[in-house]
Amino acid sequence: MKKVLVIGLDGFPYTLAVRLMEAGVMPNFKSRLEAGSFVQMDSIYPTVSNVAWTCYQTGKNPGKFGVYGFAELTRDLELYIPNSTNCRSKTIQEIISEQGKRVISLGVPGTYPPRPVDGITVGGFLSPSLEKAVYPQSILPDLERTGYMIDINPMKARESLDFFKAENRKVFEGRVKTLFDLWDSEEWDLFTVHFMDTDRMGHFMFKFLDPEESDGLNHDYYMNFLRRIDDFIGQVAQKLTEEIELIIMSDHGFCRIRKEVQLNRWLQDRGYLVFSRPPAHDLDFEAISPESRAFSLVPGRIYILKENYWKNGGVKDQDYERVREKIMNDLKNLLEDGRSVCKQIFKKEEVLSGPYLDSAPDIIVDPNDGYDLKAGLKKDSIFETGPLSGMHTYYDAMLYLPGDSPITKRPVVYDLPATILDILDLPIPDDFDGKPIFTLSPGYPPNSRNKPW
């Protein structure tokens, strides 16, 4: 019986991994690749971790589970933070549990509050505390013993990079220890362990990958952390047994930020967004006047204020398409220093499908590398420079799959559940968007142990 271990390195770019392997920084990771295939993978629109990982959880595009970002607005323009209860789909963890197999999932974004499974779930970084994040409760003492931490304290991290660096490492070590502990003490068929630390370094420190940018210390910290991750991959490889297939993946890529782009400011300047009073803060959506036609949420999500959907929405059904196309046209001309901000501008139905399309953003913008799409309501200028130095990319997630079966398509993050079910020899539900990433050869699973590590 096969088992699958998935290591999720949040936001680890494929291109960076290749570069690091070429430079000899990640030798264990590199030698691991000889036992399988390593490819670039597409993330999902909108490109944020809770959406991308919910695709990993469900095997579906967001139109089939109804979560499009870290923050959503109700039709009354009230902000809320979606969590696992807003995901309107079964998860792979639940599907596998129902088939009489056991699952363990540590730290996957969007899995708080944990849903009951046959196995263990520890919610992701937005869990309010460890004790609230854990299913079943009986596992809590074990996690406390292995030093499992839900997350760094991002408020403090933003104030002090030194604090961030120390705490980030602690979170990583706690998770590694917990993985190895549960690996031996629990029965499992699918084990997913998620590391947020790589995404955090991406946001807070991406520029320090460039030695020129750094006082040396920050660059060293970054490289040492990457070496530590590589050691960890080496430890995992040594512990693998014949029956365990290892998958290593990220959910999106990263690139340097050139400018933060305040799309609500842009919508306001073009007359699409009007306030009935000055917004009190960046999230003061109640200040939006009924004359408005559109607003934006992070990242690159633009909503048309349709009459029959939004409270006080002023765009009539018959005008909807015209307004949408006009905004899309205007976006094409959004330039910074002569460069286009938008790489691709989609209507929602071009990239999403499913029963929850109603609540999806009407326009989704995929920016050119360097333009981090923001949505503060109280911003004075469209282009800004902030304290963060890295932003997500759609096209540059990575995927390592074991075995020598040829990969037949460019993978998308929602292909993972189908692939995992295939390895576990379980049926793939009809409503999945994802497909197994490789065609199974008759001799599958291949004996990857014949290859050198």
Partner: protein, 267 residues
């Protein structure tokens, strides 16, 4: 015995046990469907007349319908009704629009309750919480000790195996008693139907919306629904996938979560 009668009988046992052990107790009545069901069970446990007071933590921001309902049934059921308000904070202008909503909850609910316990010296309080409401409530006990600062030491709780409750308090503690812990939202509704328990009209759909969970008017949002009778509510609950507290925009949790996301640049 059918399921509802079993739930009822276990709850009544716990209510009687709490009264027998502590005598100085009160039942917290938030006017919502759960605590109104709890009031009903308390009345049943003592054949119609409560031998202890009911307490309403009044933030002054509740829906007018709730105040009307409270006063009507307090009279009808002959309740000794205590109203706990943090008058000092209210006089100082505390409200949900004064900055952080969390601070408002703390002052007008938590502090008001602390003041009430100090004033009336209750040894135990009956609360209508349920295990399925919320992640953290899953590990509550039927008899749950709190220390003076209200801290809940969840790692050091009595075990409650085989329905043996540790219902005696240490000196510095008061005990929270949760007679409805084993009920689900759907159980509550089917029981309300069976017993014909009165509840406020806020729970029933008007103009395509109803409240699934009620509290302070400024911090509760209705959910889209056409369920305007108990039967339709029950039908809706059997098929819904949204959470009961989805309309409670300002949970303490979401405030912290929001701060986190802001710090990470996601908002």
């Amino acid at each position: 015995m059918d399921k509802l009668s079993e739930l009822e009988s276990k709850s009544i046992y716990i209510i009687r046990e709490a009264y027998y052990q502590f005598k100085d107790i009160a039942v917290l009545w938030s006017i919502g469907k759960d605590s109104t069901t709890l009031m009903w069970l308390c009345r049943k446990a003592f054949f119609g007349t409560l031998p202890f007071p009911a307490m309403h933590i009044d933030t002054s921001y509740k829906f007018p319908q709730m105040y009307r309902f409270r006063d009507k049934y307090a009279k009808k059921w002959g309740l000794k009704l205590l109203i706990a308000r943090n008058e000092e904070a209210l006089a100082a202008g505390m409200g949900p629009d004064q900055g952080e909503k969390l601070a408002c909850c703390n002052a007008l609910k938590t502090d008001a309750l602390k003041q009430a316990i100090d004033r009336w010296h209750f040894k135990a309080l009956l609360l209508g919480i349920r295990r399925d409401e919320h992640g953290i409530r899953a590990k509550e006990r039927y008899f749950s000790p709190r220390d003076q600062s209200f801290k809940w030491d969840y790692e050091n709780q009595p075990p409650e195996l085989w329905d043996q409750y540790k219902s005696r308090a240490e000196d510095e503690e008061h005990i929270r008693v949760h007679p409805l812990l084993h009920w689900t939202e759907l159980d509550i509704w089917t029981y309300i139907k069976r017993e014909n328990i009165p509840i406020t009209e806020l729970y029933f759909a008007q103009d395509g919306k109803r409240y699934r969970s009620i509290g302070c008017a400024p911090c509760c949002a209705p959910v889209p629904s056409t369920a305007d009778t108990i039967d339709k509510v029950i039908e809706e609950l059997k098929t819904t996938t949204t959470s009961e507290r989805a309309g409670r925009a300002q949970d303490k949790e979401s405030v912290t979560t929001m701060q986190k996301l802001r710090a990470l640049g996601y908002m």
